[in-house]
Symmetry: C2
Subunit: 166 residues, 2 copies
């Protein structure tokens, strides 16, 4: 059976576009640092071991993509420097990081358990992600979610035949 | 103010471990294909344009990591081949992909809208991710989630002083 997805172009797929940002080595690790309150270049470098030039590039890319912004600060007696803060676009990545953390904790944690956990500010319970539909139903499984062409979907071929044209 | 996170090691961070798998170029795109029902090598290659050798490597890695499994099939008159199916470990990545899709659709979609949407099998409404704590409260914002050391957290230094040792 021919998958229906073959009729649709992936040229404007937003998963691929998001991964062009998030898939760069160390990007998500840098975002994790900022979400954890580690906002300064030297602190990030010391904690993560990311090479200096790579960290410089990643931070510049995240600023350019609008996920982080630079904020000046000055330690007593030192020159003015910048720290990195999340923009709304960056903050909106939090569900992505929590989803990655949950999956990682389930399958990749040390026997002693996860290194990091999350706490709901109001009640102290652990925070995770759940799937929910726009009508408010909880969605238990990936099997209950059907991928469909969206409003911006583009047919791959006018005929819909994958092998008709090159 | 010194961020508390600096006292804790990131050596066993499961976000970094997850990104070592998901961050490889094309990995998430390949998973997207399988979630969309595109399970065969030639179909994936044709739709995504991933170079043949890269796709071979990614699929082998995803099988080795236990996210995909190979299932034999045979077209009439052709030799036996394999298609790729999600394992439970792979299926559990669905919230990660949906979270990436939602963020991508919000910030990176074409003016015409997202290429792909999701549909709840039961009611047809769009499916997204929401943050929820273990006590069942919806969590509206990243600001309501506090990162905390988990059971497997390791102090970075016995003294807790970041600069005391190298």
């Amino acid at each position: 059976m021919r998958p229906a997805a073959l009729d649709w172009s992936v040229d404007n797929c937003t998963i691929a576009r998001a991964m062009a940002i998030l898939g760069e080595r160390w990007t998500v690790v840098v975002l994790r640092e900022v979400f954890n309150g580690v906002r300064r270049f030297d602190d990030m470098r010391e904690r993560t071991g990311v090479p200096r030039q790579v960290l410089t590039n990643r931070l510049a890319m995240l600023v350019e993509e609008g996920l982080l912004r630079r904020e000046p600060y000055r330690e007593p007696g030192a020159r003015a420097r910048h720290e990195y803060r999340l923009t709304p676009k960056g903050l909106d990545l939090w569900p992505v990081l929590v989803a990655i953390l949950e999956w990682g904790d389930r399958y990749l944690a040390d026997p002693g358990g996860p290194a990091l956990t999350t706490e709901h500010r109001d009640c102290g319970a652990r925070v995770g992600v759940v799937l929910r539909c726009a009508d408010g139903h909880d969605v238990a499984s990936a099997r209950d979610v059907l991928p469909r062409p969206g409003p911006g979907a583009r047919p791959r071929y006018a005929t819909g035949m994958a092998s008709a044209t090159s």
